[in-house]
Structures are given as C-alpha cells and as structure tokens.
C-alpha cells in the first residue's frame, strides 16, 4: 500500500492532475431540510482548485459576500453578492464585557413577526484554513419592515433581550449595556466595484528561479570538444551551465547571443559552458549534429555533450526542488558558483541583462537574497534552512547514482551540524538553555569548523555566566572566551565574536586586553556606536583619556541622533576638561532625552564647569526638588552658594545646611568635606573650615592637580579668606 501510495504521489509530481478542474458547489436551502443544487446559477462554480472560503458582508449592503483563496490562478476571488430578492436583513457586532471582548461563543436569536426564530453562534475560525467575519448577519426573508425580537446569550451566562428591533441595520450590541447602537456604513460606496476577476497572467516566458538554499550540482561528466568524459569543475566566480541541442532553434539563437556578449561576461568573471543534449535526449539528432552546429556558431566558450544519465539526474532534481518531475525545457541554464553550488535556474532563453543583475543580487548577504526570492519581498520569521542533502543522497541512491549519493552524503555530514545549530537557536528562543548548549556542543563535535555554532555557544555561555554563582561564573566566562576565540580563528572578521571577546574580557576585568578586539570590531563595523561608547569607557578607565574621548567623538559622529551616545561623549569631554565642548554636546543629549535625570545632572555639571553658576544652581535645585536625597546635587548646590562670585547666588547659611545634610546622609568623601569647608569659610568659621579642608586633603593623592587646588583653598582659609571661584580658575571646577 505504501508503495502504491508513493507511486501515486510520483504521478502527481510528474505533473498529473488529480480531481482537478472541479467546480465549486452551492446548495440552496429550501426550508424543508432539502437543498437544491444552484452551483452554476449562483455564479460560484469556478473551476479553481479552491481551498479557503471566508464569509463577510464586505460592503455592508445587507447580504454576505464571499472570498475564496485558491491554489490555482487567480489565488483570490472576491465575490460580491448581487442578490436582488428584496429580503430583509439585520446584523450584529458583539462587544463582550464579562465575556471575552470579541463575544465569540455568544448565541444570537432573532425572532420574526411570525414567531419563527433563527439562531447563530459567533465563531472565530471555521471551514478549512479560514476565518469569516465576526459580524453576525441574518437574512430575514420577506418580512418587510416589521420589528423583530433579538436575544443574546453571552458566554458569561448573561442574557440580553431586545424585544423590538428595526430590521435593515447593522447593530453593535455591548454586553451589560443598553441600548443597541446602529453602526451602518456612514457613506454609500461612492462608486460600485467594477466587475472582473484578476486576469490570469498566462504562460510566462523564461522562468528564472534563485536556488535558495543553495545546493551542490549533481556530478556532471561531460565530454568537452572530443576529449574523454570527465566531471565539470568550476573555476570562475560564476559558471553558466547551458543546456542546448542542435534541434532547438531558441537554443541556437541564445548561444549566438552569449557569443556576442562573451567578452563582457568574462569581465564579470562569468564562464559559459554549453552542454549539448543531442544524442541523449531521445530526439533523432546526434552528437555529430551538435558538433556541426557548434562549429557553425564558432562558440568562443567551451562546449561539450552530456549523456542520458545526467539529464535523468536533472529531472530528479527538478522533481525534488520544484515539485515537477519532468525534464527541464530547452534551453535551460544553471548558474553555478565556484564551489559548484547551483545559485540560479533559467528555464528558457536567458536574458543577459537579467543574468548580470542576478549575479549582483547573488553577491548579497544570504539574508537579503532570502528576503527577495521572487519579485515580491517580505521578511522571514524562521531561521534560514539548508538543503536536505540526506534526502538527495537517498533519492540519488534509489536511482542508482552512487557517486552523487556519496557527494550528498558527505555534504549532509556538515549539514547535520547545522541542523543541531538550528535546533539550538529554537531551544534558546524557547528558553531551554541547557538543551541549546548540548545541541551546540553536538554541532561543534560534528563540525568543529562551523563558526556560527562557536559564536552562539559563546553568547549562550555569557548568558549563563550572568546567572551563575561566582565560581560557575568564572568557569562560564573562561569557556565563552574560548568559543569566541575559536570563532575569531575561523572567521577573523566576525563582528559579534570580536565584541563578545571584548565583553568577556571586561567581565574578567582584563580591561587592557579588551581594547584590542573592540578596536578590531570597529574596523569591521565603523558605525557601531555602542562599541565605540564601550571602548571609550574602557579607554578612559584605562587612563587613556584622549583615546577614549576620541572614540566617543566618532561614536557621536556616526550616531548624532542618539542621546546615550551624546551623554557618554559629553561626560568624557568633562573628564578631559573640555568644558565648553562638553556643554554643547550635553545640551544635545538633554534635548534628545529631556526626562533623563542622569543627563540633566551631567548638563548641570557642565554648566558649573563653564562658570554658569546661575543656570547650574537652578538645575541642581530642580534636581533636588525631584529627589530630596540627591546628595550630589545637594553638595553642588552648597558649593555654588558658598563660592559663587555672584552675590545674588551666595547664601553661606544654606550652603552650610546643605553640606552638613549631605555629610550626615553618609557622604564623607573629599568632595563633601571640601564643600563643607568652603561653606564654613563663607560663613566666617575659618578654623573649622581649615579642619575640614585638611581632613579632605588626606583623601587626595599629593601631586595631583586636585591636591594643589585644595591646598590653595586651605591657604585662603588660613588667611581668614573665603574662596570665590572664577572662570579662570584652573581645573577642577568642583572638588573631586
């Protein structure tokens, strides 16, 4: 039985119809549990291979229209109901409250003036692969304008009754709410839709198809210009394997055209190999005919002949790849790359301009190729698939082509690794991390040179590291590092691997070493501003301030619209003491993200650094108003009130209060103590000021510019003077 079944399938694969050209049916309910066949006079008996059928009163004219989805052309039929019978209608759109919002499962019963009823249930999904409208439409027959009674049984168990409803309207019924709302179409359609189906686009000329996923060409033994048969090899970037025959006139004109354009095609690194099927295709011509035709054409590119078995293999191939187990038409050309992978098929005469365009398209990333396999583009959700080489190995084995079977078996080995890899991606998505890890390790075991598996395993280990205990974390990081290194070995310009390396090293606190891979990553992707920001931070941490700022500058250039980048750049500029520039950048940052308190603080700091005490004071005050515990703003506010040269901003008492508050809130660093000292000095309490200042200076390394600035202030206090900051003061603007 299994065999007869698969033989039957084979018949279909060879292009046989099966219950084809059947006409759709329509049965008219005669009201007595009998139906009349009205398939034709209803206008529904299209000969399509129909599949889906959805029902909707599309135009809200009171009768229901139909939409068919077909396998055959046209794939879509919108059938508007033109029934002229003068029957009444009413329709309901349901809004559930206690019940589900869509009202699915609600039963609506309409009772006509003659006391007969009809009931409909709202469903989501019915028929086959189809969903009809959620508007429940009722035909009312010849009831005239008499009112009808409507009852709704909601899934919640609630019942609503509307004893007198005017027919001829579309209503919305909301559970637990009265009354009915009329939601008729606001305007009549300005112009009725014109009749006419989508025209059948008919039989196309040349069919061109991208070979995706790519697949190795079957072994192709050819006899090139009277040499002995040997398998084809591919040395050019692309080779166009062209099938022709001396009896095929379009083939000969095509060859002529190839010959004319050959020089130009060679410049694109395209080779042409013309393979004649004469003597192998069952026609009466012979290889000698092919030789005569080739001589006459004076082909500038290699040509040869193939045998029957190769054509047979191509037929198998077509059956598997395109679901049509028939010989390819003549001419057919296959575009093959230097690996011997098929990349495109041309069934019919090749348009050379199109061929050139295709070669360009095929040079794009796989993802881009995949997103536009036909003239129609879109996007994929599932991960890219690969050719199922195991299947081809089995097909070719069954038909006695052991050499091809061996080739595909070999390719399947590497592919199995890719299968594990794809499964791992799905496992990760489903949150099954341990499963993913073991699948990735299987993939690597099968094919250690499969870079993506190493990369993803690295990423996975990083994720695991972030969740594990300290010991586990160290181990996971070490393993991740190895995976990234391996990825880099296999694929030196793999951006993700380089960034991954940098990340691991940062986590391992090897910040010096992390710089190198991140810099390498930026060579691959100069626009990656996140990496620049990260690298900038790293360099600044590593005391390579200038370089760090430089990175952030570049990040800013490649992503000027990004507030985060601007903030990072601004803060780097601040650390470098380039205050005016920092102010400018930070203003942009705050513009981008006006509600971000961190950026607001940075901006206030830069205002302070630029000596704009007034604006700075305002910003700190408002930050403090937003957050009473904002110690940093508290201290800076106190600082401004103590040291501002502008008398209107001075307030020694408040300065003292704020700085004491900050200190009692636990802030006992040098900045807090120096601020307290400045406030004390401003209020004339010099001994206490000196005491605080001296204590603060214990915390600062001697020799630093910070220390010198602090020392100068201590001298002032000693002299019984308070400190007033001026714009010309050397850095820093605020005790650090």
């Amino acid at each position: 039985m299994r065999q007869s079944y698969s033989q039957f399938i084979d018949q279909i694969k060879q292009g046989n119809s099966f219950s084809g050209k059947e006409r759709n049916c329509a049965f008219l309910n005669l009201g007595n549990s009998k139906f009349a066949n009205v398939s034709s006079i209803s206008g529904l008996d299209f000969i399509d291979d129909a599949r889906g059928l959805a029902v909707t009163d599309w135009d809200l004219d009171g009768d229901v229209d139909l939409i068919f989805a077909n396998r055959t052309a046209p794939q879509l039929r919108f059938l508007q109901n033109d029934y002229p019978g003068g029957h009444g209608f009413v329709s309901f759109q349901l809004v559930g409250k206690s019940s589900n919002r869509d009202g699915v499962g609600a039963r609506v019963t309409v009772t006509l003036p003659d006391k007969t009823s009809m009931t409909k249930t709202l469903r989501a999904g019915s028929g086959f692969l189809s969903q009809s409208s959620k508007r429940l439409s009722f035909g009312l027959g010849a009831t005239g304008q008499d009112k009808i009674a409507v009852r709704v049984d909601w899934p919640s168990g609630q019942v609503q009754n509307f004893p007198a409803v005017e027919p001829g309207h579309h209503y919305r019924i909301t559970e637990e709410a009265d009354p009915l709302e009329i939601v008729d179409r606001q305007k009549e359609l300005a112009t009725a839709l014109a009749p006419g189906p989508i025209p059948n686009a008919g039989n196309p000329g040349t069919v061109s198809a991208v070979c995706y996923p790519r697949m190795r060409l079957p072994v192709t033994p050819v006899t090139l210009e009277n040499q002995s048969p040997k398998p084809l090899t591919f040395r050019s970037r692309y080779t166009l394997v062209n099938l022709w025959a001396s009896w095929c006139n379009p083939c000969l004109s095509e060859l002529k055209e190839f010959a004319n354009q050959y020089e130009e095609l060679k410049k694109l690194d395209l080779q042409i190999i013309a393979l004649s099927t004469d003597g192998a295709d069952g026609k009466s011509t012979t290889q000698a005919d092919a030789a005569r035709a080739a001589t006459k054409l004076a082909l500038p590119f290699p040509w040869g002949t193939v045998d029957r078995s190769w054509l047979d293999k191509l037929t198998l191939l077509r059956g598997e790849l395109f679901g049509l187990k028939q010989p390819f038409p003549m001419p057919t050309s296959i575009l093959v790359d230097e690996k011997g992978d098929m990349r495109a098929f041309y069934l019919g005469v090749v348009n050379v301009a199109e061929l050139k365009r295709d070669m360009q398209k095929l040079d794009r990333q796989d993802e881009a190729i995949r997103n536009q396999l036909t003239s129609l583009s879109g996007h994929w959700i599932s991960v890219p698939s690969t050719i199922d080489y195991l299947k081809f190995a089995s097909v070719f084995k069954t038909h006695g082509y052991s050499e091809d079977a061996a080739q595909y078996d070999r390719l399947a080995g590497g592919q199995k690794a890719r299968q594990y890899y794809n499964q791992a991606l799905q496992s990760m998505e489903a949150g099954q991390m341990q499963m993913a890890e073991s699948q990735l390790r299987e993939a690597i075991k099968l094919d250690d040179s499969f870079a993506p598996a190493h990369l993803v395993l690295g990423n996975l280990l990083m994720q695991l590291a972030s969740r594990s205990s300290a010991g586990g974390q160290k181990q996971a990081l070490d393993m991740a590092l190895r995976e990234y290194q391996k990825t880099r070995e296999l694929d030196p310009e793999n951006f993700d691997a380089l960034v991954g390396l940098g990340n691991v090293m940062i986590q391992q606190r090897q910040t010096d070493q992390a710089v190198e891979p991140l810099e390498a990553a930026l060579v691959v992707k100069p626009d990656a501003w996140q990496v620049r920001v990260l690298l900038g931070r790293l360099l600044i941490n590593n005391k390579e301030l200038g370089k760090g700022v430089d990175q952030r500058d570049q990040a800013m250039q490649s992503s000027s619209e990004n507030g985060e980048v601007a903030a990072a750049y601004g803060s780097a500029l601040m650390q470098l003491g380039r205050y005016p520039q920092a102010l400018k950048v930070l203003r942009t940052a705050v513009d981008k993200k006006p509600d971000d308190p961190r950026m607001a603080r940075l901006l206030a700091d830069s205002l302070l650094a630029n000596g704009d005490f007034k604006s700075a004071r305002m910003r700190y005050a408002s930050a403090l108003a937003n957050n009473r515990r904002d110690v940093d703003s508290m201290l800076r506010l106190a600082w401004i009130m103590a040291v501002s040269p502008d008398p209107s901003l001075q307030d020694p008492a408040a300065a003292l209060r704020y700085s004491q508050q900050a200190v009692s809130a636990g802030s006992n660093g040098t900045a807090a103590r120096q601020t307290l000292a400045a406030a004390l000095a401003a209020g004339g309490q010099f001994p206490r000021a000196m005491q605080q200042q001296a204590a603060a200076m214990q915390l600062i390394p001697r020799q630093s510019s910070q220390f010198q600035a602090a020392n100068r202030r201590l001298d002032l206090y000693r002299e019984g003077k308070s400190y007033q900051q001026s714009k010309t003061d050397p850095v820093p603007f605020f005790p650090q």
Partner: protein
Amino acid sequence: MQLNSLHPESACRSALPRLSTQSGQAPPRATLYLLACLLICLIGPGCSGEQKEKAPSSANDEPAEKITADLSSDTNFDQLAYVESFERAASGQLKKITEWIETGREKPDLLDSISSENYRAANIDPGQLHIQRDAGFRVGNLPKRPTSSPDLPAETGESDSLVNTWNQLLSPLAEPTGQSPAEQRVKFKITRVQLEEPPAKTSAIVSVFARYNNGFSAEVNATLQIAWQVKAGDAKPLIQSITIDDFETAHYESAEGVTFTDRTLDLIGREPGLVNQFSHGTEYWLSRLMQGDYAGHFGLAVGDINGDGRDDIYVCQPAGLPNRLLVQREDGRVEDQSATSGLDILDQTRSALFFDMDNDGDQDLLVAAASFLLLYENEGQAKLKLRSKLFEARSAYSLSAADYDNDGDLDIHACGYAAFFGAGPFPFAYPFHDANNGGRNVLYQNDGKGNFLDVTNSVGLDENNSRFSMASAWEDYDLDGDLDLYVANDFGRNSLFQNDQGQFRDVAKDQEVEDQSFGMSVDWSDVNRDGTPDLYVSNMFSSAGNRVSFQSGYMSRQPELQSRVQYMARGNSLFLGGKERFEDISIPSNTWMGRWAWSSKFVDFDNDGWDDVVVANGYLTRQVPDDL
C-alpha cells in the same frame, strides 16, 4: 485527503494484476489505474499483496494484519479493471452529448452515433416539474422514480430517439422568450458501473448550465441510469435507454444573471503587487521557489484589524511569498498594508486567525507557520508586533478560538495535521481509513493577558488527538452553556469533544458523527431552524471510488469494510442536531456531492433566513489534464 511533500519511495514494482481490456478499449491511463489501486488499498496492502505493512500499533482495535492478509483474496482485480476501462469508453461516448449541447444541439449525428438502434426511453415531461419554491431562485424537481422498475410509466409515452430524450431533459433550460444561450456548460460524472448482468448500466451525474444575455440563467442537475448495448470486439458501447433517478432544475433571474459577481480586480487593482501575486497560481510561484508545496493549502482570515468597522483580509501564502494584509478603504477597495503592518511574512503559513487575545478592544492575529504559531499583538493603526511563538503546535492547519473555560478570554485550538517538521520522511497515514499517527492538536489556555499554556492533555483532548486533523469548529451542541469542539480528520473518523465544565470527552461515536472519511472542513449552523446546532463536514467525493467500491468483486467477503470504503468515497455530510443523536441527512438533503471539497460554509446567500451551503473544492489541476 492531502498528499503533499512525501518522501520519495521506490516506485511500485510489485506484480499488480494487469488490467484486462475486455471491452477492447485502450487501457485506462496510469493515474486512473492508480486511483483505483489507491482505493483498493484503502484497507490493506493493495498492490503489494504479499508485502505486509508493518503496522504501528494503533489505538483502534481493527486487526490490521488480518485485513491486509484478506484483501487480495477477496477482491477481483480483473473485474475492477474491466469496470474502469468500461467507464472510459462510456465517458468517451457521453462526451458526444456534451459536444452536441455545446454546439447548439444542431448536430444530431453526434447523438445518433452513440445511440443503439433499439433505443427507447420514457418521455420526460417538464410539466411534471414540481416547483418547490418560487422566490428569487426557482427550483423544480421530478418526483423520484424507482430505478429498478422495468416498466416505463404508460401515461408519459415513449421516445425512440436519444435526441428527443435530451431535448426533453434540457427543456427547463430554455429562456422564456426563446433567446439562445450565451454560454452553456455540460459535465458528466459516472459514479456507478454495473456490468455483471446485461444490459450494462452506468449511473451518471450530469450538470448542464445555460446563461442568457438578458440575465436569465438556468441549470439542470440530474442522475441518470444509462443502459448500454455492449458489442463484441472493439466497438464502442451504445446507449439503449435512459432512466431518470433524480432530476432537478433551477432558474435565476437578475441584472447580473448570477448571484455572485467576481469583482476582485477592482478590489485590489490599485495595488500592482497584489495583482501580480494573486494573478498567478501557486504552481507558477512553485516553479520559481524551491520551497513550494504543490498541494496549495493556504487559507485566509477576515477581521477588522484597524477597528474602523470594515472588514479586512489577511491572506496566507507559501514559503517565499509574502503574506498579505488587505485593509479596506472607505470606497470598499483595499490597500496593501502587508509591509507597514509587519505582517509580510515569507514563512510558509497555512492559516491565520484574528482575535482579541488580551481583551483590549483590538484584533490581534495568530498565524500558523510550519514550526510554530506566531502571535502578533495589535499596537494600533494596523501595526502589529510579534509577541511570541507557540512551539507546541507545529505544522498546524486550521485555527480556531473560543473561551472553552468561560473565564472571559479566548483560548486557541490548532489542528496539528501531520507529525512532520520539514525534514525527514513525511509520516504515512496508517491505516488509511482510521489513521491515528498524525500530528498533535493543541488547546492553548489564555491567562487573560495573551499568555498561552498548552492544556491539551489536562482537559482530556489528547484522546483521538493525532488523526491528521484538518479543521475544527466550536459550538455548544448540547446547549449546556459551554462550547464543544468538532474536529474533522483526514484518513478516518472525526471527533466531537463534548465539553463538561472544561473537561472534554469524545462523543462522536455515541452521537453518530464520526463520519469516517477524509474530513477537510467543518462548520455549524441551525439549518432547519429548530434551535439546535447542525453540522456540515466536507470530505472527498470520488467517482472512481464510488465505481470501484460498489463492485461485487471488491472485498466480497468483508461487507462491513466494503461499506466503509463506500462511505469514504461518498462526499460531504450534513448532520441534524436536536434529537438524542445527530441524524445524517446528507443524501436526502442533497448536500453530499461537493466533489473533492475543502472549506465549506453555511451561508444564507439569498437572505431568506435559511442557511445555504457553499463548497470550495478541487484538488490538483496540474500540467497534465488528467481529470479523474
């Protein structure tokens, strides 16, 4: 039944009994032969009689080994082959009638050439037509007459001319003012062949349609018993008598001539991308894509995605072609918002479902892709965001949503069809008439916020849950306040899962709605307006299956199995609810012959308050026009 993506197997090389060509006709073409073989094989090893299938242990209690062993001994393959070759010959003769009608009935020679010298048939008087209904559509029937009666009714008289008989049969197609038809179509299907005792008889369904330029159209649908004179040698059979089994005529009159008019081009015409995509069939795209699935099982969903009160359409497409979101504009035409909505998915997707998953008042979308369901959340203005993938339902076909646990949110049921995940061999349905080795259907419970949990097993739905399910639909058939679920299965029996406060139990057998056939589609409605839900299930009608399975030489010692196969080839089923059990009225209601049916819906298309039935059908129209 669906037959796609099968793993290639070696061709059938077993010793099939050779078809004899006793009638002198050319042997039936390979496909026809294979179909017969397939039907023979429905139960048992068929063409490989001696090679027993290793049957997977299945839940059903049929002794599979025993059946396979028995088949070849009680099936007369020679008889079946003769039947099929006779059908070819008879169909060839009936084509002459088609040609005679379609050429304006002006070539009587065509009929004379297929008529026996002693042709005789009872007169058919259109005056006997009993008008059953006279509003909008007009329908008339001849009262059914016993086919076994050898006596022709005396009062009607006799005709000795095939031309006369056919003119009588076609007289209801005449336009009242005598116009000539602008279009005529004829289709014969031979559904029974009786060759065991003379005369040879065939039962044929004939449909004739005529359309006139003034908006009048008419069709005749009849089942005819045709008796043939079979001569020795290569001579073709000749018609010697025609009796009517069933006869029905229907008229329609309106400006357009038919009820429904195709206005798709204007609907989508402003979107050249849509026109390009849909003006080609999936075969066209298949020849450009290595992803294709020639069975073409791609559906559609209607829903109001932007809440403007007008329905929109989402069309599912094969792998490599973008799905399309057609948003209705104020003028009733559509705008292609596939890309802007984020729904131009290239993955193979079979179906989709609009529903409000989180009760926030807008329509979210569920899409059945090959390896998972995609759950899209509506973010307003017809922008959707992929929120999650549901991995339990793979290779899903039809989707449906209902609040099975009455907790105020919509839960999802997905039909898993086959346990086939894109690689490796396609699972082979076994046994064909009662397969339970398909993919798993999944019921997802909604937590109210659009998070879904597979509760299939805990609610009792894992019973009969791997039966190659094509479609499911919810209805509270027992009117106890919770929704029950009917599941239509390919290759065997269907399920009616009765919901008792959130726990399900398959009651299809008790309710007599197992409908053991090739279930493709299910819909519910109250067709007889008695207040209880009725059920329509679509299946595959097969002429060849009918011809073969009714032969005495087909499984002659297993009448129970024979009648089961006969049932499987019967066609669609209409079950009336409301009594203790459902009542099968498929045959008397005349709703069974839906051909190879797919989505089939109750639709009151003439707004008379009685739900009519529309059937989408046709399996594979490919390059070789071998219409079985």
